[in-house]
Each structure stands twice: as C-alpha cells, then as structure tokens.
C-alpha cells in the first residue's frame, strides 16, 4: 500500500516538474525543475529495487550535471527571463500536437505487446537486486558481456574530457 501511495505521489510530482521545466521561460527555473524530476526518478529507482543506480542518479545527474548546466547559464548570463525571445508563432501548438500524437502512438504500440510474465514479476517485493554488491558482481563477471563496455566507457570519458577542453578553450 505504501508503495502505491509513493508511486502516485512521485509520479504526479515528476510529471508536474517536467512540464513546468518546458513551460517556464527562465532557464534557471527550468534547471531547478529538472533537479526535482531527477530526484523523483531516483526515488522510482528505489521503488524498483535499484538502490545503487538511485544513489548514482542523485550524485551524477542532480549533482554534477546540473551544476554544469547552472554554471554555463550563469557564465553566459542567460539567467534573466527574456534574454532569448521565444518566437511568437504556431510552433508550440504544432509541437504539442505532434508530441501528443507521439505519446498515443507510443502507448498504443506498447499495448499491442503483452509482457511475458517472468518468475519474479512482483514489483512490490524488495530483494537484493540492485545493491552495490549485486551490481558489482554482475558488472565484473567474466561470463557477462559487460567488461569490454566498461573499459570502452573509460576511453569515452577520456575523449569527452579532451573534447570539452578543446571546444571551450580560447584560440591561441
């Protein structure tokens, strides 16, 4: 029962926060609404017994990435509303209509496929699925295919560091 209440409360908060992120004109408010959405998604991860991913979500997304966003907003002095004028045209209406069509198509195509019932299809039961131990054992298991992507991710992060420095530095 507590799971049901938590799900609906978090769902309403996350949807309202994401919509207010799109609607508001102030980029700083958008960023704060996005932080709210991220924290709600982290709580959903805990409901889905993915505790480690929830902690990583709060640290990386709500911490590091949003600090980067706010830093760039303040660096470029875009915080004041009206710095970028939104074009007064039909585009928001058309985009919203297309988005609703996209959502209907997504849900309809999903409802055509019935999920096969697995043995452990009981979302309300907590089991040690996503603890640090469970995730780590699965990630570094030689029989699982995750070791090579893990090493490739380190190369990706190195390339991203070099690319970000090269893009943002002054011309010498």
């Amino acid at each position: 029962m507590a799971t049901v209440i938590a799900f609906w409360v978090l769902a309403i908060i996350s949807i309202v926060a994401s919509i207010s992120m799109v609607v508001t004109k102030n980029p700083v408010r958008s960023a704060l609404a996005l932080v709210g959405t991220f924290i709600c998604v982290a709580a959903f991860y805990i409901l889905l017994s993915a505790q480690f991913i929830a902690a990583v979500q709060v640290i990386v997304y709500a911490g590091a990435i949003m600090v980067l966003f706010l830093f760039v907003i303040m660096l470029l002095n875009l915080g004041a509303p009206g710095t970028l004028r939104e074009r007064g045209s039909l585009q928001p209406l058309v985009a919203s209509g297309l988005g609703v069509c996209f959502f209907v198509a997504l849900v309809l195509s999903g409802s055509l496929v019935s999920l096969p019932q697995a043995a452990a299809a009981r979302p309300e039961v907590f089991e040690p699925l996503g603890t640090v131990r469970g995730v780590g054992i699965n990630l570094f298991d030689p029989k699982q295919p995750w070791l090579f992507p893990f090493e490739a991710t380190s190369i990706l992060l190195l390339v991203a560091v070099v690319g970000a420095i090269i893009m943002a530095k002054r011309k010498v």
């Binding site: 958008s30 996005l34 991220f38 889905l48 980067l68 875009l78 979302p123 699925l129 970000a164």
Partner: protein
C-alpha cells in the same frame, strides 16, 4: 498494485515531455535539459523492465547510458560556450551556420 506497465507509461509521459521541449524551446541549454529528461525516461523503462524479469542487466545499461550522458553534456556545453564566444548569441534560430 503497481505493475510494470505503470512505470512504462510514466516513462512514456516523461519522454514525450522531453520531445515537446526539444521542439518548442529556442534556448540550446534548455534543449539539452530536455534531452537529459528523455535519457532519464529511457533509463526508467530499462530499470522497470529489468525489475520485471528479475535481472540486473537492465541496470547495467543504465550505468553506461549515464556515462554517455555525462560525456555528451560536457562536450555539448563546451560547444555552446564556443558558439557564444564566436557569435554573442546562442539562439538556435540565429545560429544556423550549416544552412547554406
């Protein structure tokens, strides 16, 4: 009773909000935020489906998607800073260098 379908529909709602934001907004930083929202919605459906089948493998995909998102944001914001330095604006309607 919360089933996996609830989480999948919620993920679809968040993804659609991100799509609408990308289409509507003119500020590339907010467009980036909407892309992050779409990535989060995809991650949520990964974890919900992994939970449905009782496997950890859904969470593995989320770890790698998170690393890719961090890399994408750092490079993308670097590009935005470089564009702002060159053109003094980052409105996506005025930065159309590739359009001949």
């Amino acid at each position: 009773m919360i089933t996996t379908s609830h989480f999948l529909v919620l993920s679809a709602i968040l993804f659609t909000t991100g799509v609408i934001g990308v289409l509507v907004k003119r500020n590339p930083i907010v467009i980036f935020m909407c892309v992050e929202l779409m990535l989060n919605a995809a991650n949520l459906s990964f974890i919900a489906l992994g939970r449905h089948f009782g496997q950890v493998n859904g969470q593995m995909y989320v770890i790698f998607a998170l690393a890719v998102a961090a890399a994408e944001v750092s490079v993308g914001l670097g590009i935005i800073v470089a564009i702002f330095r060159a053109k003094e604006t980052i409105n996506v309607d005025e930065v159309n260098l590739l359009k001949s």
